[in-house]
């Protein structure tokens, strides 16, 4: 159903990962996961070591944050994030990279799985692991479905990386396949042994081969590598459930309602590190790429969470002069960077430079009702209809009827519109309005 086929532009796919050296100062955001911001537990002047807890979860849906380096806390104060919003950061003057005690920093593969389910969940929570596919939802919450939820029948480990340009998941699959699989096995265990699918799009045959080989060598039962058709957004949670299990998740429901749990490849790796090595989530892979970079300037970096984006950009050779827009993430769902001095966060996956002419929005033309947006919508919505209803004003009932609230903001409609109508911009507003109505109604129903 739906989807588009943008050019995959994976220029950095053959660039092996490099480790970024530490900068002088690190800015660690307290709001780098979905849910309540973390509460800092360090004060100005404190000495910290790499991997040491610097902020604890600020609520049930929240995650711990750890120091990405050793050094002194310079400030705990609000700084602008990449869209310019003020968020509390812990600023650390870097002195070195001395790890806290009890963390295994070696590269030895540990395949023996721990027995205790609670031990695993505690480790994942303590290490601040969040979903690294984009939503940054705390992993320990997702792996521990609310009592009364259906039993997990399938664990979908998402390596589809359907966004153009991005190659961080791909590199991780090529370079650390066994760690990913052990991580997947750990999650499988926590969930009570559902079948596990390692989902990879068929435009990455290398990754499929490597993962297949690793799987054979490890000999895990109930785990298969599942090639998927190349399509954007194949890696969307709901789309993946549909593609692999042929089941559809209802409006507003979680995948667990149809017995599915979706986790990203990188999350699986982070789970491995947390559980087997007690290593908190302080680093991740980030792709520096774009359509205005020469072939030798694409990179995949292991970065420490808290490095300013500008530092990463500078290290990679500076922002190219042709860049018209800097994006954190992919071209379809990434965020335009307002403030390049913002810090990298757990969910950072790319710094993308796009040429002004490729990224500039088109002059808005007339809708010719060609229906390409409706064909492209992976949720089966009709963006042209939603756009019209939104612009007419006060048509919330109809917007809800035509499921504006189900929009996943993947951008396929705007991408495919031949008239360059800012469909998603308007549908997103409509969705927010309808969500407001739905929430108000739910609250009213609760009070009764």
């Amino acid at each position: 159903m739906g989807g588009v086929h943008p050019h995959d532009s994976k220029f950095a796919k053959d660039c092996a990962t490099e480790v970024l050296p530490l900068p002088k100062t690190m800015y660690v955001s307290m709001a780098q996961h979905l849910g309540a911001p973390a509460k800092p537990v360090v004060a100005v002047g404190d000495s910290v070591r790499t991997g040491q807890l610097i902020a604890e979860p600020g609520g049930f849906i929240s995650a711990a944050v750890h120091s990405p380096c050793s050094g002194k806390v310079k400030a705990v104060a609000p700084y602008a994030d990449l869209s310019g919003r003020m968020v509390t950061h812990v600023v650390i003057d870097v002195e070195g990279d001395e790890w806290a005690d009890g963390i295994d920093t070696s590269d030895t593969l540990i395949t023996a799985l721990p027995e205790d389910r609670q031990f695993i969940l505690d480790r994942i929570k303590a290490c601040g692991v969040v979903g690294l596919g984009g939503a940054t939802f705390p992993t320990h919450v997702k792996l521990n479905p609310a009592p009364g939820s259906p039993k997990a029948e399938a664990l979908l480990v998402n390596g589809s990386e359907c966004e153009p340009f991005l190659t961080s998941d791909y590199r991780l699959m090529l370079e650390r396949p066994k760690e990913i699989l052990v991580g997947a096995a750990i999650m499988q265990k926590v969930l009570g042994g559902p079948k596990c699918f390692i989902c990879i799009e068929d435009n990455k045959p290398e990754a499929i081969k490597v993962m297949d080989k690793a799987l054979q060598e490890l000999g895990f039962a109930d785990m298969v590598v599942q090639p998927l058709k190349k399509k954007y957004p194949q890696g969307g949670e709901k789309q993946l459930v549909d593609a692999v299990m042929h089941r559809q998740v209802g409006s507003g429901a979680l995948p667990i309602s149809v017995g599915a749990v979706v986790q990203n490849i990188t999350t699986s790796f982070a789970v491995y590190e947390a559980v087997q090595k007690n290593k908190p989530l302080v680093s991740n892979i980030l792709t520096v790429t774009g359509d205005c970079l020469p072939a030798d300037r694409h990179h995949n970096y292991w970065f420490r969470i808290g490095m300013p984006l500008s530092y990463v950009a500078e290290y990679a050779g500076g922002v190219p002069a042709e860049a018209g827009k800097i994006i954190s993430g992919g071209p379809m769902m990434g965020k335009a960077v307002v403030n390049l001095d913002a810090a990298t966060v757990k969910g950072s996956s790319a710094v993308l430079y796009l040429k002004r002419e490729t990224t500039k929005r088109w002059q808005e033309g007339a809708c010719i009702r060609c229906g390409r947006c409706a064909d492209a919508c992976p949720m089966g919505l009709e963006p042209l209809l939603l756009n019209r209803l939104y612009k007419a004003g006060d048509r919330l009932e109809e917007l809800e009827k035509y499921a504006a609230q189900d929009c996943i903001e993947c951008g396929c409609c705007l991408y495919s519109c031949p008239a360059g109508i800012p469909l998603l911009d308007n549908v997103r507003q409509a969705k927010q309005q309808v969500m407001g109505v739905i929430k108000a109604r739910a609250a009213a129903a609760k009070n009764k």
Binding site: A366, E382, L385, D406
Partner: protein, 321 residues
Amino acid sequence: MAETYLITPNPHWHSPVSTKRLMLDVVIALCPAVIASILFYGWSELAILVVSVASCVLIEWAVTKFLLKKPSTIGDLSAVVTGILLGMNLPAGIPLWIVFIGALVAIGVAKMTFGGLGQNVFNPAITGRVFLLVSFPAQMTTWPEPHGFIPNVDAFSGATLLGQVRLIGADKADALVNLSTLFRNIGGSAGEVSALLLLVGWLYLCIRKVIKPWITLSIFATVAAIAAIFHGVNPEMYTGPLFNLLTGGIVLGACFMATDYVTSPINSWGGVLYGFGIGFIVMMIRYFGSYPEGMSFAILFMNMTVPLINMAFHQKVYGRK
């Protein structure tokens, strides 16, 4: 000051397919049939097409500039498509001033008064043609003998085959049409000259995913089915499926006019219903109406139902039963 970086919500990329590109594809798809019509009918047909396209573009430009006082929209090539389709819907040899009037009605009345591209209820080219048909019935049904660049042995002149059905009887008319008619001039409006080349263009559009095939297939299937039923009951009164598919404007209309984005349903199933409606109406006009041909009327009539069809047919939302 240097230009600052752009900021937008996602997505940050756009597919290369623009309205202009889609319209250009339609023009490309029409090329084989256009060339064939010029080869069959000669310079006069070329003149008609040139006048038709030029006046459509000119009128749209003039209306946007002087009446609407908005930026010109001729760059999207939709006026060019209307111009070609209008030209192909007229008999070769029609006086050029009539062509201009057709363009005036097509663009000036059917398109721009509704607010331009995307707003019109009726297909502009067909509106123009129907206006000419009722205003200049004589000129619009004078089918000249092809005197083009290639000799055409089996050309009919005077009335079209469809027009002759009532004169010579259905069974005799049927006998004049066989599969080879696909490849040859069948007489009638200039664009109807070669069904095969029209189908080639239609296939091109389908392969390029410019249009979906359902509307066209639905029209063909409906026409064939209705003709088969009536012909089966009384072959002397009613012409058969092949005759009805290959004569008149069915192929041109089904491939290029009924599939116009603006005036056809968005949903594929809606398109099937729309195609059925067109096929049904055209066959009723052919069998029982006073006109020999009814494709234009059928499409215009179904154009009116499109808003209703769009209200009734929606694609399935993910996760909904």
